[in-house]
């Protein structure tokens, strides 16, 4: 049933067969570039129009958590690349180990994302009826640093002076924040599912130096998702940190 590493009839050589798989994967990734591209386009326009609201929204994000997630995700790309290498040189245990590490790091990323989303719900920063950009400044929690709250109040009053419709425009920012990071997280969940399958295939010894196309192709997908985050991180977290 599983014809691993065999040459299919339509190809001349194994090398051509592998290259065709990679070519097809890249064509798929091109469609993904344009899929995310539409969101990046929407983001660019709205940031162009409502810069003040986007700056205020961006500064509510937790840079420590976002930065940690960037490191986690790039590290998971490294372990993914290492598993491709291990499968190329026929190290079965190392292949499995690196795949498991990638899965753990990917899950950690999603876990941090859950913490960040929860904060946004707590601070009334989820677009909708209860959205209030200055909720945290008006209702600080007992353990909030009073200096921080003062700074936030000052920042908000400046932003309201620039843009009286700040509350509405900040919702645009948060809609894009949840839309873009949500679509990215969905890709991570799909990737994690494929990793589970890869790990199983690797454990039962499906991959050899001549047959490791699935590891390579899912690797390409994983790195693509990493690249999306490489752009999301500065665009969402670092708009207006200097002031």
């Amino acid at each position: 049933m599983h014809r691993t590493g065999e040459l299919y009839g339509q190809f001349e050589t194994l090398e051509q067969q592998k290259e065709s798989a990679a070519l097809g994967m890249w064509v798929f990734l091109s469609t993904e570039v344009l899929f995310f591209g539409g969101l990046f386009m929407t983001y660019t326009l709205n940031r162009h129009y409502y810069g003040a609201a986007f700056g205020v929204g961006s500064n509510t994000l937790d840079l420590k958590l976002g930065g940690a997630n960037t490191v986690i995700l790039i590290l998971s790309s490294l372990t993914m690349a290492m598993s491709v290498w291990a499968s190329h040189v026929g190290k079965r245990k190392a292949t499995t180990g690196f795949l498991v590490a990638t899965l753990i790091l990917g899950t950690a990323f999603l876990g941090v994302k859950v913490i960040e989303y929860k904060q946004k719900f707590d601070h009334h920063l989820v677009p909708g009826y209860h959205f209030q950009i200055d909720y945290r400044a008006q209702h600080p929690a007992p353990n909030d640093d009073p200096k921080e709250i003062e700074a936030e109040k000052e920042e908000l009053s400046k932003a309201f002076a620039k843009d009286p419709d700040l509350n509405a425009h900040a919702q645009l920012y948060f809609s894009l924040y949840f839309g873009m990071t949500g679509l990215h997280a969905l890709h991570m969940i799909v990737g994690a599912g494929m990793l589970v399958w890869l790990i199983r295939q690797s454990i039962i010894g499906r991959f050899t130096p001549t047959y490791n196309t699935p590891v390579e192709m899912i690797g390409l997908y994983w790195h693509f998702v990493d690249i999306v985050w490489i752009y999301l991180f500065p665009l969402l977290y670092l708009i207006d940190r200097h002031q």
Partner: protein, 107 residues
């Protein structure tokens, strides 16, 4: 790709470069450079993406036709961004304000 095996040393080197660039983008965000903040943020992100594509995704070792697909993807994205922005950015903001007045009258 093909039968070219990238040694782990290269992967670790690329990973360390990506970490340095991540630190650089955070540091640059705290300096007020006006309109150049976004330029620098995007330049660093693009440099990081290029490193990932060339080495982690083996584009550097791929056949020309695979590289062509990658270039096409970036090119199509550039068309979408450039043509859409050339419309919106050159639009009359007063006209946009008039539209919102019309919307107010309708409601």
């Amino acid at each position: 790709m093909s039968d070219h095996i990238v040694p782990p040393k290269v992967y670790v080197g690329i990973f360390l470069s990506l970490m340095v660039l991540t630190a650089a983008t955070v540091a640059a965000a705290y300096v007020n450079l006006g309109a150049f903040n976004i330029v620098i943020a995007l330049a660093i992100a693009s440099l990081k993406a290029t490193l990932v594509v060339l080495y982690f995704m083996h584009a550097r070792y791929s056949p020309k036709r695979t590289q062509l697909v990658i270039i096409c993807a970036v090119f199509w994205l550039a068309i979408m961004l450039a043509l859409t922005l050339s419309d919106y950015v050159t639009r009359d903001r007063d006209a946009a304000a008039n539209i919102s007045v019309l919307q107010m009258l309708e409601s």
